[in-house]
């Protein structure tokens, strides 16, 4: 979740005003108090602004609206409102199995060490392709790697509906295979309809909460 913008903006403005004071009256730094002021406004406060700004942008980049702000992603956003619980992404979004305001990031980040960093590097590549490359058609967009069950199990592992589900327990070998990523949740034929953006024109859509 992106932190509030107002405190950061106030800090930026206050820092800029103080720096402006030193730029227009550099003689202030001759005194001991002026030297301390210079250390704060030319070193410490800009560093804090940079850190808070980075935190703000990284937080914002995890929001659903951020991901859907590129037109290539809009069909994927539309797929979240398909009125069919058999559509995995739509069901997760509409039933709040993932936070609605961080729906894309929750499933598409990588819950391993440096997963967030990896997701951000992919994001930078997407920005590059969007502005300087040739973006593929939405229906032709594919994941970099097959979806790892680890990302599903991050939430579902240990959940009663997952562990005691009738279908999951119909075959005693199924759950161990899923938990060790030998059997994919998605491509095994069980939960394979995810976004299905190539066939959205045939779907009905949920209008959402008024």
């Amino acid at each position: 979740m992106a932190p509030a913008v107002l405190p950061l903006l106030l800090l930026i403005v206050a820092t800029a005003v103080l720096i402006g004071l030193l730029v227009f009256r550099p003689g202030l730094t001759a005194s001991k108090g002026g030297k301390i002021l210079a250390f704060f406004v030319l070193f410490l406060l800009p560093l804090i602004c940079l850190g808070m700004g980075t935190d703000y942008h990284i937080g914002r980049s995890e929001s659903t609206t951020f991901c859907l702000s590129c037109h290539e992603m809009q069909p994927f956003g539309r797929s979240l409102t398909v009125d069919d619980p058999g559509h995995l992404a739509a069901a997760h979004f509409q039933y709040h199995r993932v936070p609605a305001d961080e729906a894309c990031y929750t499933c598409h980040t990588n819950y391993a060490m440096f997963g967030t960093l990896r997701a951000k590097m992919h994001g930078l590549k997407h920005v590059y392709v969007h502005y300087l490359g040739t973006p593929p058609a939405p229906a032709a967009i594919r994941l970099y790697d097959p979806f790892n069950n680890r990302e599903c199990l991050h939430c579902h592992l240990g959940a009663r509906s997952f562990e005691e589900g009738a279908v999951h327990n119909a075959d005693p070998d199924l759950l161990p295979a899923v938990k060790t990523n030998k059997l994919s949740c998605l491509s095994s034929g069980c939960h394979e309809t995810v976004h299905n953006v190539g066939a959205l024109d045939k779907e009905k859509f949920w209008k959402g909460v008024p």
Binding site: V5, L8, L9, I12, V13, T15, A16, I19, G20, L22, V23, F24, P26, G27, T29, A38, L42, F43, P46, L47, C49, L50, G53, T54, Y56, H57, R60, S61, T65, F66, S69, C70, G123, L124, H126, V127, H130, Y131
Partner: protein, 68 residues
């Protein structure tokens, strides 16, 4: 605004100008919701802030020759 005749103060002024430019870019990027805003924030704002801070630190360790 006029630049100081003292080399140390002039470097501090230059550092301040770089920092203000970096902060302006940062403030602008806060209100720009496109993903390119993050690239601009780091690539331009971060660079200007980094240069400003570096110039300030270099000024601290440089030998001060007062202007006569």
């Amino acid at each position: 605004m006029t630049f100081s005749a003292d080399p140390l103060e002039r470097r501090l002024q230059l550092s301040g100008i770089l920092l203000i430019l970096g902060l302006l870019v940062e403030a602008f990027c806060l209100f720009w919701t496109q993903p390119i805003a993050f690239v601009l924030f780091i690539g331009v704002g971060g660079l200007l802030l980094g240069l400003g801070i570096l110039l300030f630190l270099l000024t601290l360790v440089s030998k001060h020759q007062p202007h006569h």
